[in-house]
């Protein structure tokens, strides 16, 4: 089983990390929220240059046909930087949806352009992804349910608690596909999206831990750095453990998505639950250790806090994913 990143994956992650660090994502994200998506679109073009947008696209449509673990590696870095834009949708779910559906005309229309970065895409799937993220600033908007796949017509923008996530209601547009092949393709896309979302959560959790460690080393109270207090140490140790134990589930789920279709849903749910729990613990602890300053926008903690809040509740809530695990247990599959 492929549970540790390869040297190539490590290099890939490092390159992506360096690019995003240089791109000053906090500023880009503020602009994205304030209806100025242009700087963000520039970053997305750089993602395409690095190959991120083509990872899940088959070679015949101009992609890299990479393993889902590679998508996980990339999305973890995107989450670490709290990059704005529909990452789980455009990088993971849409390629999976179109590929699985297997309609060559549709694939040819969109996959090469998604891979090249010419198009950023987004997707709404009732009920787990009720709004299409950033549908008002990207050029491909789809809307799927178990029976049909349609173009989506962006409606009014709703504000997310994570204001860099532009939530848009979409009305039905032109019908693209219908019939028995749609349901499984949509289910597969939901799994791919949930996995990418879990990876972003893990990345965001690590970013929160790192920020909090820095703060705990600098901030003094009672004449010592607060990181020297046992209570703070133990809080942070628990965060680190939560994140450390979520990661193998994430990679195991990526392997299952590629190679074990019978357990993919269960394994992806386990990964989503674990990553969301770990990231939310990181967020709670970050606030508790930062104290009041964590609430101030200028502290910069906020983007990660609200990102975690939002991601933990999309691509299936914790209840939904726990329920899938329980169902698998009841079916005697687990034990």
């Amino acid at each position: 089983m492929k549970l540790t990143p390869s040297a190539e994956q490590d290099q890939f992650a490092a390159a992506l990390h360096a690019m995003l660090t240089e791109a000053d994502i906090p500023t880009v994200a503020r602009q994205w929220a304030a209806d100025n998506p242009a700087p963000g679109q520039v970053v997305w073009r750089r993602l395409a240059e690095l190959g991120v947008t083509g990872l899940a696209v088959p070679a015949r449509w101009g992609g890299l046909a990479a393993h889902p673990a590679d998508v996980v590696v990339a999305c973890e870095v995107l989450g670490h930087h709290a990059l704005p834009g529909p990452a789980a949708e455009s990088i993971a779910a849409l390629p999976m949806l179109l590929t699985t559906l297997g309609d060559d005309a549709l694939c040819e229309s969109w996959l090469p352009r998604l891979a090249s970065g010419e198009v950023i895409g987004t997707l709404a799937v009732a009920p787990h992804v009720p709004y299409a993220t950033d549908a008002d600033v990207v050029s491909l908007v789809l809307r799927a349910d178990e029976q049909t796949l349609r173009l989506g017509a962006p409606g009014p923008r709703l504000r997310s608690v994570d204001d860099t996530r532009r939530l848009v209601e979409v009305a039905d547009g032109a019908l693209l596909a219908t019939g028995p092949a749609v349901g499984p393709a949509v289910a597969h896309a939901l799994n791919a999206g949930a996995l990418a979302c879990a990876a972003q959560l893990l990345g965001a959790g690590h970013a929160l831990l790192e920020t909090t460690l820095r703060y705990a080393g600098q901030r003094t109270q009672f004449d010592q750095p607060i990181g020297q207090f046992q209570a703070v140490k133990h809080l942070l140790a628990d965060v680190a453990i939560g994140l450390e134990f979520a990661r193998p589930l994430l990679y195991a789920a990526a392997v299952a998505l590629a190679d074990h279709p019978s357990t993919a849903a269960r394994d992806i749910s386990a990964a989503k639950v674990a990553c969301a729990d770990a990231a939310q613990r990181a967020a709670r602890t970050a606030l508790q250790v930062h104290g009041a300053i964590g609430y101030a926008r200028e502290s910069g903690l906020g983007s990660w806090l609200t990102k975690v809040w939002a991601l933990a509740r999309t691509w299936g809530t914790q209840s939904f994913h726990r329920d899938r695990i329980r169902t698998a247990l009841a079916a005697g599959e687990l034990t």
Partner: protein, 386 residues
């Protein structure tokens, strides 16, 4: 007045005076809401004699019994009356002046507090002094007949509307004594050239908190409460004032939140999920326990003076409220992250979820409270803290 009559009178007045536009406005995380309307309402409340109930009559209060104060706060919460804009003066500074102030200070300030004409803000926290208040670095030195103050306070709620600030400042160099010696408790007028107020923009997009910069700000020599250098004792006295009656009011508010959440869960159908039902039941029992504990603490305080329970109560209600926020987000499900459309504003549940996280920080963090319980109540050995 008999307790029941008192309650009837409170209820009658509130029914007549709390309009729909005021209902539920204000409170932690929402101090910006309907501020002018709340101020006007609080002044009407004062004019009708419903402020500073527990203060002794000779200081302008009504000398109300504990039971009457409880009745007031419960009815106030039940009526959905708006969060009081003058509570810092009424609950913290007023009792402090009654306990430690000079007759002149009392004469000068208590009437303005009672009438909600003079508004106060609290200057304790500093960028370097959060949990560790003894680290206050703002300095005050006597120049002629005035204190001249330099430094910075932070998380100062409503500083932009306050007329005065009560604050801790260092009037002697720290030297080798305990770190909290050499602090004084000063009263400083806010509207003067030496003071700059800068709002802190919060995650929620609102800004009820401020940074306050003191740059040669002045106040007259007699504006020190208690003795010079004894400010720590005065400030700790303030923190220890029994807030039992107001706490019960707070719990009525919690009960309203819980009721609304249960209603929402029923409406959306998730109340049928066994785990959510269990969480809601636990929340209900937790609130009974808080209420029973508060009543018990108050009964004991009536018998034997204030108890040691404040830290435990703070810990418990803050955790309870945080958990309610998390349950609320579960009830909301996937739609829990959509904010009201414009301007960027959270709905009540989102605000509860986000702001309840601060409950375990402000007024002494969870970690500090547990340390206090372990050392002062359980008698475990103290940690060296300078």
């Amino acid at each position: 007045m008999h307790d029941d009559e008192f309650r009837q009178a409170v209820r009658a007045w509130l029914t007549e005076n709390v309009g729909a536009e005021l209902r539920g406005a204000g409170g932690p995380g929402r101090e910006h809401e309907a501020y002018r309307e709340r101020l006007a309402f609080n002044r009407r409340l004062a004019a009708a004699g419903w402020t500073c109930l527990g203060w002794p009559v000779e200081h302008g209060g009504r000398g109300a019994t504990l039971a009457q104060q409880v009745a007031f706060h419960e009815e106030y919460a039940r009526a959905g009356a708006p969060a009081r804009v003058g509570y810092l003066g009424e609950e913290l500074l007023g009792p402090t002046l009654i306990a430690y102030g000079t007759p002149a200070q009392r004469r000068r300030f208590l009437p303005g507090i009672r009438a909600v004409e003079q508004l106060w803000c609290q200057g304790y926290s500093e960028p370097g002094a959060g949990s560790d208040l003894a680290a206050v670095a703002t300095r005050a030195r006597l120049v002629g007949d005035e204190w001249v103050i330099d430094g910075q306070k932070v998380w100062t709620s409503l500083a932009h509307v306050a007329h005065w600030c009560f604050l801790l400042a260092r009037t002697e160099s720290a030297g080798t004594g305990p770190r909290h010696s050499g602090l004084s408790y000063l009263l400083v007028p806010m509207r003067q050239p030496g003071i700059t107020v800068r709002p802190i923009r919060q995650l929620t997009g609102t800004s009820e908190f401020n940074e306050v910069f003191f740059d040669g700000a002045r106040t007259s020599r007699d504006m020190v409460v208690g003795e010079v250098g004894q400010g720590w004792r005065v400030a700790m006295g303030t923190l220890a004032f029994e807030r039992g009656a107001a706490t019960l009011g707070q719990q009525v508010g919690f009960q309203r939140e819980l009721d609304r959440l249960v209603a929402l869960a029923r409406q959306t159908g998730v109340a049928g999920e066994p785990q959510l039902r269990d969480l809601l039941a636990r929340a209900a029992v937790g609130l009974w326990a808080l209420r029973a504990h508060t009543l018990r603490t108050m009964a004991e305080a009536d018998q034997a003076g204030p108890g040691q329970g404040a830290s435990a109560v703070k810990l418990l209600w803050s955790r309870w409220h945080q958990q309610l926020g998390e349950v609320a987000m579960r009830v909301r499900g996937a739609s829990g992250t959509v904010a009201r459309d414009a301007p960027y504003e959270l709905d009540d549940w989102q605000r509860l979820f986000l702001f309840a996280r601060a409950d375990t920080i402000y007024g002494g963090s969870d970690e500090i409270q547990r340390g206090i319980i372990a050392e002062r109540v359980l008698g475990l050995p103290r940690q060296a803290r300078g």
